[in-house]
Protein backbone atom coordinates (compact mmCIF):
# COMPACT_ATOMS: atom_id res chain seq x y z
CA UNK A 1 0.00 0.00 0.00
CA UNK A 2 1.43 3.35 -1.01
CA UNK A 3 1.83 5.93 1.73
CA UNK A 4 1.01 9.62 1.71
CA UNK A 5 2.98 11.43 -0.97
CA UNK A 6 3.85 15.12 -1.12
CA UNK A 7 5.55 17.41 -3.58
CA UNK A 8 7.74 19.28 -3.85
CA UNK A 9 10.06 18.10 -1.07
CA UNK A 10 11.78 21.48 -0.83
CA UNK A 11 10.93 25.05 -1.80
CA UNK A 12 12.94 28.26 -1.47
CA UNK A 13 11.22 31.59 -2.11
CA UNK A 14 11.72 35.30 -1.77
CA UNK A 15 9.22 37.17 0.38
CA UNK A 16 6.14 38.05 -1.61
CA UNK A 17 6.23 35.03 -3.88
CA UNK A 18 3.48 32.39 -3.98
CA UNK A 19 3.92 28.65 -3.51
CA UNK A 20 1.71 25.56 -3.71
CA UNK A 21 2.10 22.23 -2.00
CA UNK A 22 0.46 19.06 -3.26
CA UNK A 23 -0.62 15.99 -1.30
CA UNK A 24 -1.88 12.57 -2.35
CA UNK A 25 -3.33 10.69 0.65
CA UNK A 26 -3.53 6.94 1.13
CA UNK A 27 -6.18 5.45 -1.14
CA UNK A 28 -9.50 5.13 0.67
CA UNK A 29 -8.69 7.65 3.38
CA UNK A 30 -11.54 10.14 3.53
CA UNK A 31 -9.89 12.63 5.88
CA UNK A 32 -6.89 14.76 4.96
CA UNK A 33 -4.93 17.11 7.21
CA UNK A 34 -2.38 19.85 6.63
CA UNK A 35 0.07 20.70 9.41
CA UNK A 36 2.73 23.37 9.79
CA UNK A 37 5.88 22.32 11.67
CA UNK A 38 8.25 25.17 12.53
CA UNK A 39 11.85 24.21 13.16
CA UNK A 40 12.34 22.35 16.47
CA UNK A 41 8.62 22.29 17.24
CA UNK A 42 5.76 19.84 16.97
CA UNK A 43 3.30 19.95 14.07
CA UNK A 44 0.32 22.29 14.37
CA UNK A 45 -2.91 21.63 12.51
CA UNK A 46 -3.78 24.17 9.81
CA UNK A 47 -6.85 22.68 8.14
CA UNK A 48 -8.56 19.37 7.56
CA UNK A 49 -11.03 17.92 5.08
CA UNK A 50 -13.49 15.08 5.08
CA UNK A 51 -13.91 14.11 1.45
CA UNK A 52 -14.07 17.47 -0.38
CA UNK A 53 -15.53 19.47 2.52
CA UNK A 54 -13.48 21.69 4.81
CA UNK A 55 -14.20 20.60 8.38
CA UNK A 56 -11.99 23.08 10.19
CA UNK A 57 -9.82 25.83 8.73
CA UNK A 58 -9.82 28.04 11.80
CA UNK A 59 -6.08 27.56 12.33
CA UNK A 60 -5.00 28.80 8.92
CA UNK A 61 -2.66 31.70 9.83
CA UNK A 62 -4.18 34.27 7.55
CA UNK A 63 -6.03 34.82 4.32
CA UNK A 64 -2.68 34.33 2.58
CA UNK A 65 -3.17 30.60 3.16
CA UNK A 66 -5.76 28.53 1.30
CA UNK A 67 -6.40 24.83 0.82
CA UNK A 68 -8.64 22.80 -1.46
CA UNK A 69 -9.53 19.18 -2.02
CA UNK A 70 -11.94 19.41 -4.96
CA UNK A 71 -12.56 15.70 -5.66
CA UNK A 72 -12.05 14.38 -2.17
CA UNK A 73 -8.71 12.81 -3.05
CA UNK A 74 -5.62 14.99 -3.69
CA UNK A 75 -5.22 18.34 -1.99
CA UNK A 76 -3.34 21.58 -2.57
CA UNK A 77 -2.19 24.06 0.07
CA UNK A 78 -1.26 27.49 -1.28
CA UNK A 79 0.51 30.42 0.30
CA UNK A 80 0.08 33.77 -1.40
CA UNK A 81 2.74 36.39 -0.79
CA UNK A 82 4.94 34.30 1.49
CA UNK A 83 6.65 35.84 4.53
CA UNK A 84 9.79 34.81 6.39
CA UNK A 85 7.60 33.66 9.28
CA UNK A 86 6.09 31.01 6.99
CA UNK A 87 9.41 29.15 6.96
CA UNK A 88 8.55 25.66 8.20
CA UNK A 89 7.90 22.10 7.07
CA UNK A 90 4.38 21.51 5.80
CA UNK A 91 3.09 18.02 6.50
CA UNK A 92 0.11 16.25 5.00
CA UNK A 93 -1.60 13.37 6.78
CA UNK A 94 -4.62 11.17 6.17
CA UNK A 95 -6.92 8.92 8.15
CA UNK A 96 -10.09 6.90 7.61
CA UNK A 97 -13.41 5.89 9.03
CA UNK A 98 -12.21 2.96 11.12
CA UNK A 99 -9.96 5.15 13.23
CA UNK A 100 -9.66 8.86 12.68
CA UNK A 101 -7.22 9.24 15.57
CA UNK A 102 -4.49 7.31 13.79
CA UNK A 103 -3.03 9.53 11.13
CA UNK A 104 -0.50 8.61 8.47
CA UNK A 105 1.98 11.29 7.52
CA UNK A 106 3.76 12.18 4.32
CA UNK A 107 7.44 13.20 4.16
CA UNK A 108 6.63 16.91 4.18
CA UNK A 109 7.68 19.94 2.16
CA UNK A 110 10.41 22.06 3.68
CA UNK A 111 9.76 25.72 2.86
CA UNK A 112 12.36 28.46 3.28
CA UNK A 113 11.31 32.06 2.70
CA UNK A 114 14.27 34.42 2.32
Amino acid sequence: EAGVTQSPRYAVLQEGQAVSFWCDPISGHDTLYWYQQPRDQGPQLLVYFRDEAVIDNSQLPSDRFSAVRPKGTNSTLKIQSAKQGDTATYLCASSWTNNYAEQFFGPGTRLTVL
Partner: protein, 115 residues
Protein backbone atom coordinates in the same frame (compact mmCIF):
# COMPACT_ATOMS: atom_id res chain seq x y z
CA UNK B 1 -8.16 22.50 26.51
CA UNK B 2 -5.68 19.67 26.08
CA UNK B 3 -1.91 19.79 26.11
CA UNK B 4 1.16 17.58 25.95
CA UNK B 5 4.46 18.31 27.67
CA UNK B 6 7.75 16.65 26.85
CA UNK B 7 10.09 18.10 29.47
CA UNK B 8 13.34 17.05 27.80
CA UNK B 9 14.14 18.80 24.55
CA UNK B 10 17.30 16.74 24.06
CA UNK B 11 18.45 13.37 25.42
CA UNK B 12 21.81 11.71 24.79
CA UNK B 13 22.47 8.07 25.63
CA UNK B 14 25.16 5.56 24.77
CA UNK B 15 24.46 2.71 22.41
CA UNK B 16 23.21 -0.31 24.33
CA UNK B 17 21.94 1.76 27.25
CA UNK B 18 18.32 1.88 28.31
CA UNK B 19 16.10 4.80 27.43
CA UNK B 20 13.13 6.62 28.88
CA UNK B 21 11.53 9.63 27.20
CA UNK B 22 9.01 11.44 29.36
CA UNK B 23 5.56 12.65 28.41
CA UNK B 24 2.86 14.31 30.50
CA UNK B 25 -0.56 15.16 29.19
CA UNK B 26 -3.45 17.31 30.32
CA UNK B 27 -6.94 16.23 29.30
CA UNK B 28 -10.12 15.83 31.29
CA UNK B 29 -11.51 12.93 29.30
CA UNK B 30 -10.18 9.56 28.19
CA UNK B 31 -7.13 10.14 26.02
CA UNK B 32 -5.90 8.31 22.96
CA UNK B 33 -2.10 8.47 23.15
CA UNK B 34 0.60 7.94 20.57
CA UNK B 35 4.33 8.12 20.14
CA UNK B 36 5.60 9.12 16.71
CA UNK B 37 9.21 9.22 15.52
CA UNK B 38 10.65 11.58 12.93
CA UNK B 39 13.94 10.66 11.28
CA UNK B 40 15.92 13.41 9.52
CA UNK B 41 14.20 14.63 6.36
CA UNK B 42 11.39 12.12 6.77
CA UNK B 43 7.76 12.24 7.82
CA UNK B 44 6.34 11.10 11.11
CA UNK B 45 6.09 7.37 11.71
CA UNK B 46 3.86 5.77 14.32
CA UNK B 47 5.78 3.86 17.01
CA UNK B 48 2.91 2.78 19.21
CA UNK B 49 -0.54 3.71 20.43
CA UNK B 50 -2.68 3.38 23.54
CA UNK B 51 -6.46 3.44 23.54
CA UNK B 52 -7.45 1.40 26.59
CA UNK B 53 -6.70 -1.83 28.47
CA UNK B 54 -3.22 -2.97 29.46
CA UNK B 55 -1.32 0.20 30.38
CA UNK B 56 1.91 -1.13 28.86
CA UNK B 57 1.82 -1.15 25.09
CA UNK B 58 4.39 -2.59 22.73
CA UNK B 59 5.50 -0.87 19.57
CA UNK B 60 7.91 -1.34 16.73
CA UNK B 61 11.66 -1.85 17.07
CA UNK B 62 11.52 -2.84 20.76
CA UNK B 63 9.84 0.32 22.02
CA UNK B 64 7.16 0.23 24.68
CA UNK B 65 5.21 2.84 26.61
CA UNK B 66 3.35 2.87 29.88
CA UNK B 67 0.15 4.80 30.47
CA UNK B 68 -0.53 6.14 33.95
CA UNK B 69 -3.86 7.82 34.55
CA UNK B 70 -2.93 8.88 38.07
CA UNK B 71 0.23 10.62 36.85
CA UNK B 72 -1.21 11.77 33.51
CA UNK B 73 1.85 10.31 31.86
CA UNK B 74 2.76 8.18 28.87
CA UNK B 75 6.50 7.54 29.02
CA UNK B 76 8.38 5.77 26.22
CA UNK B 77 11.01 3.14 27.03
CA UNK B 78 13.52 0.94 25.29
CA UNK B 79 15.78 -1.59 26.95
CA UNK B 80 18.79 -1.17 24.67
CA UNK B 81 19.13 1.63 22.13
CA UNK B 82 20.85 1.43 18.77
CA UNK B 83 22.55 4.27 16.89
CA UNK B 84 19.74 4.11 14.32
CA UNK B 85 17.27 5.21 17.02
CA UNK B 86 18.66 8.73 16.79
CA UNK B 87 15.66 10.86 15.82
CA UNK B 88 13.03 13.22 17.20
CA UNK B 89 10.25 11.59 19.22
CA UNK B 90 6.82 13.15 19.63
CA UNK B 91 4.22 12.31 22.23
CA UNK B 92 0.73 12.92 20.83
CA UNK B 93 -2.74 13.12 22.34
CA UNK B 94 -6.08 12.68 20.60
CA UNK B 95 -9.32 13.61 22.28
CA UNK B 96 -11.18 10.76 20.57
CA UNK B 97 -11.11 8.22 17.78
CA UNK B 98 -14.25 9.63 16.26
CA UNK B 99 -14.82 11.83 13.26
CA UNK B 100 -13.69 15.05 14.98
CA UNK B 101 -10.50 13.59 16.42
CA UNK B 102 -7.67 16.09 16.51
CA UNK B 103 -4.06 15.50 17.47
CA UNK B 104 -2.14 17.62 19.96
CA UNK B 105 1.62 17.24 19.72
CA UNK B 106 4.32 17.77 22.28
CA UNK B 107 7.34 19.79 21.22
CA UNK B 108 9.41 16.66 20.72
CA UNK B 109 12.52 15.15 22.28
CA UNK B 110 15.62 14.87 20.14
CA UNK B 111 17.42 11.61 20.91
CA UNK B 112 21.10 11.26 20.12
CA UNK B 113 22.71 7.84 20.52
CA UNK B 114 26.47 7.82 21.00
CA UNK B 115 28.39 4.85 19.61
Amino acid sequence: AQSVTQPDARVTVSEGASLQLRCKYSYSGTPYLFWYVQYPRQGLQLLLKYYSGDPVVQGVNGFEAEFSKSNSSFHLRKASVHWSDSAVYFCVLSDSGGSNAKLTFGKGTKLSVKS
